[in-house]
Amino acid sequence: MTLAAATNENLASISNVLIYSAMAVYTLAFLAHIAEWVFGSRSKVGRTAAALTTDAGPAAKTAAGPVVQTRAGGAAVLERPKVITRSAAGQRDVPDGPGAHGGTEKGDLYGRIAVSLTVLAFLIQAAGVLARALSVQRAPWGNMYEFSITFSTVAVGAYLGFLAAKKNIRWMGLLLVATVLADLGIATTWLYTESDQLVPALHSYWLWIHVSTAIFCGAVFYLGAVGTLLYLFRDSYEAKLARGGSPGRFASSVLERLPSAASLDKFAYRVNAAVFPLWTFTIIAGAIWAGDAWGRYWGWDAKEVWSFITWVAYAAYLHARATAGWKGRKAACLALVAFACWLFNYYGVNLFVNSLHGYAGV
């Protein structure tokens, strides 16, 4: 018994060392991303401005008329007929920015280094979470410290997953790594809780289901929120250019390298829409668990209320996208509000509101 306890304490301190190491490596990744942005700023891209000013805007593109593709030269040509796509009327037709490295080789190199370091830090952090789980011999989600370290691991994992699937998402790297560092900093300084077992109310396999999906939803919603935020900046930048204005040098340099507003918007929408059903499931799983633990599946406890508010806010966002006059910036603001609700549900309710779910352990 004492022997087991000792191993557990060992594992817990190993976990702590791993988390601190991950923070160190994330810091390096952060610096590498900074280098990427700095070197990237030396290139003269100017594509966005060119697209928006020389082309006389979307009207010309729409009026360009039928684009017909023909196959030249003999029977030998048996390749696929090419598909031509065309964006809808009223949309800016802007190419995506080249990414943080701005097309420079050096910037790209640093960007790659940053991603490699992020992968390394992710592995270390994941090992830290695993060690923590082994030390407490349960899912590592019993208190806010554990929740936080798992949360940022999953967020980085999702980001790396997108990269692995060859999605254009490296532009997010700097912001993501910075917030992960902040999250881990808060977790280790303020939220740290000694490794221990759970109170009986948390003993249930629903813990695995409900909390794991909640963490996953939050992490991916976070990526969506970053996309939405950058969309708002990029969109006003494009709008300004289209109006013939000239944004500040810093703003141009940074925003120009991001994907186009339309791409960012689409990314954010896809992410949010994809996670929404899972979030619905999370709430229902929570209700089932509450039914078992407390004898009622819905009791308007603060945590339940805020999950509901978050859910309705995301539903409003999805509705807004289907409603004329609400697409674009307004819908994006709704998405940010919805994510703010999620955050409040996590930090705010645990720390400030008296709730049955108050197992913050701080």
Partner: protein, 627 residues
């Protein structure tokens, strides 16, 4: 709108097309509604082809009733207003606003204590905020989720939802029964387009295309010179299922609230309970509940086990709570079961939950002549995490004082399962487990006030009509007893003994709520519908084949989705490749740029080449085809 569509369609079929938006506008001039113009922007170049790709209501709600009035005139009757109101209510925009209000409205309930959650907190709050509390009370902020205004929001939302679903369902049924609309005049205007020339005859191409599309589970048919096909109806179905499931969940929840019953019962180890109204300690039920609905069973608590962390910083944190019980239903057979915090016992649809636990020290009270007047376990209520407990020991009958006169005895009891020791300076418990139990009693006699008819808290001693026994200093006689110790009352008034036995008690919540199954079913349907609605793309594909000026067949393929996604061009490319394999490109000596018939030369050859060079699969920007 349907009549316009019809015209558009026929026009499209004859291939004369390029539906002018002006033309459509003219036909409809008398009945054009505000907002329709916006719509036409979308459909202008697509004719009916872009219509009905969803059943979402159009945002054709005028800002003033005049604009949407039946005659468009300035004077509106009651009916006109009602219609206007109904249109507003069932529009997407109002649904959006109501959703937003619903989440805003839910906020105060999470920040202000709620009667339905914890009424003690509400009392505290009221005591602390004397000016604010009455205002909050007026605004029903202590009962947000049953307040008039919150109910108004969600009832409006659900009326809107029903008002939205019914017509949408009809429309969807209509769509399922009709066939995909014919190809628009200019396929080049669609978000994904491809073309090639082939030697096969147009009929052959159409036939092959029809077969191919049908094989890919498109609904396909030939209209004029083109095959029209559509797929992904499940998206719409999913969306409808989702919204209907929301209603099912709401109704199930409401029915559950009306019919539910919920009661509490505290049982000391070794005692039991049978499920009738009179045996409950407290009981709440929905307004439509009747007592016949209580399931007939009885249950008794055999043993309660609580274990706690013994060491470390979290010493004292509970680890397990388990109540071993025996229960029997109508058949009279005994069953054993264990109830834990997350594992309620279900008997005949009624759930028995373990809620809390505490200690019940066993005491014996004797009168002056040594006759036992009370012997039993007295459940005491915990007041902190370490289970320091308070309560009252009441001896109501059978006691006679030293003169043989009838009297009542009362003891204010304070109990700790683990005493800190004399030096610790305070009486509070150090640990929730039973390690060093001490029972402190203060003795009174007189009238317990039990017969006054007023409800009395069993755990509190009402000393207003009682006289304390005095110790030598003239203070209330009090003593801390270890198990086995006895407090002698002065002047031969009797004694109280803390027996060497401490039982535990557990309290249970026994609840019954019909409709849970429906709520769960609704929830599952909602998720499934939502997934279908968000992940399935509804799209149309047209394949036009006709003979060009040089006698060679020109094949054009185009696709339209409700929201533009990268998948759409990919799918079209795949279809085109398959069709192309069967109908390969015709040999032509030069790279001609055929103008498909019916397509005006808006861009001219120059821009054509331009685009061909610059754009192979250009990724498109956001949901274009969506209105």
């Amino acid at each position: 709108m349907s009549s316009t569509s019809r015209t558009d369609a026929s026009r499209t079929e004859t291939g004369r097309t390029d539906t002018g938006k002006t033309e459509a506008g003219k036909t409809e001039a008398g009945r054009t509604e505000a907002g329709e113009e916006r719509d036409e922007l979308r459909t202008a170049d697509l004719g009916e082809a872009g219509e009905r790709l969803s059943t979402a209501p159009k945002d054709d709600v005028g800002d003033t009733p005049g604009a949407a009035g039946p005659a468009g005139g300035p004077v509106l009757g009651v009916i006109g207003w009602l219609r206007w109101f109904w249109r507003q209510l069932t529009s997407m925009r109002v649904a959006l606003i109501l959703l937003f209000l619903l989440s805003l409205g839910a906020i105060p309930g999470s920040l202000i204590p709620q009667n339905s959650v914890n009424d003690l907190k509400v009392q505290d709050f009221k005591a602390e905020h004397e000016t604010l509390a009455p205002i909050y009370d007026k605004l029903q902020l202590f009962d947000v989720y049953s307040s008039v205004w919150f109910s108004a929001i969600y009832i409006l939302l659900f009326v809107s939802l029903i008002g939205c679903i019914v017509p949408r369902s009809w429309q969807f049924v209509g769509q399922l029964r009709s066939r995909p609309p014919g190809a628009p005049g200019r396929l080049t205007r669609l978000p994904a387009y491809t073309t090639w020339r082939t030697e096969a005859a147009p009929e052959q191409v159409r036939e092959a295309a029809g077969r191919l599309l049908a094989k890919r589970r498109f609904r396909a048919h030939t209209v004029g010179d083109a095959v029209a096909a559509e797929k992904g109806y499940l998206r719409e179905a999913g969306n409808l299922v989702f919204h209907i499931a929301l209603i099912v969940m709401l109704v199930a929840f409401a029915v559950g609230q009306l019919l539910k019953s919920e009661g509490g019962k505290l049982m000391v180890e070794g005692t039991g309970f049978s499920n009738t109204l009179t045996q409950y300690d407290d009981f709440k039920s929905g307004s439509l509940f009747s007592t016949d609905e209580l399931a007939p069973f009885s249950i008794s608590l055999d043993e309660f086990t609580g274990t706690y962390e013994k060491t470390g910083p979290q010493r004292g944190t509970p680890r397990t709570f388990r109540a071993d019980v025996t229960y029997s239903q109508g058949d009279g057979k005994d069953h054993k079961a264990a109830i834990e915090v997350n594992k309620p016992l279900v008997i005949d649809g009624t759930k028995v939950y373990l809620l809390s636990h505490g200690y019940a020290p066993v005491v014996t009270v004797k009168d002056g002549r040594g006759k036992v007047v009370f012997n039993g376990a007295v459940p005491l209520l915990p007041i902190d995490d370490k289970v320091s407990s308070t309560g009252a020991i009441k001896v109501m009958d059978g006691y006679r004082d030293k003169d043989g006169k009838r009297d009542q005895l009362g003891f204010a009891a304070f109990f700790v399962p683990t005493y800190g020791g004399k030096g610790s300076g305070q009486m509070f418990s150090q640990f929730p487990g039973l390690e060093f139990p001490v029972l402190n009693v203060g003795a009174y006699h007189g009238s317990l006030g039990v017969d006054s008819g007023l409800p009395q808290n069993v755990y509190q001693l009402d000393t207003r009509k009682m006289t304390p026994f005095k110790d030598a200093d003239g203070n209330v006689l009090k003593k801390s007893l270890l198990p086995g110790e006895t407090l002698e009352l002065p002047d031969g008034a009797g004694s109280i003994t803390f027996e060497k036995e401490v039982k535990e008690w557990a309290s249970f919540q026994i609840s019954q709520q019909p409709g849970n199954g429906w709520a769960l079913g609704g929830a599952i349907a909602a998720i499934a519908g939502l997934a279908a609605s968000l992940f399935i793309q509804r799209r149309r594909v047209w394949v036009r084949a006709r003979t060009g000026e040089d006698g060679v067949t020109v094949v054009e393929m185009a696709a339209l989705g409700r929201s533009e996604s990268a998948k759409l061009p990919e799918e079209l490319a795949d279809l085109a490749a398959t069709l192309h394999a069967a109908m390969p490109t015709a040999e032509t000596p030069t790279a001609a740029t055929p103008d498909p018939p019916g397509v005006e030369k808006a861009g001219g050859a120059e821009s054509n080449e331009d685009s061909v060079n610059s754009a192979d699969t250009v990724d498109t920007s956001a949901e274009g085809a969506e209105k």
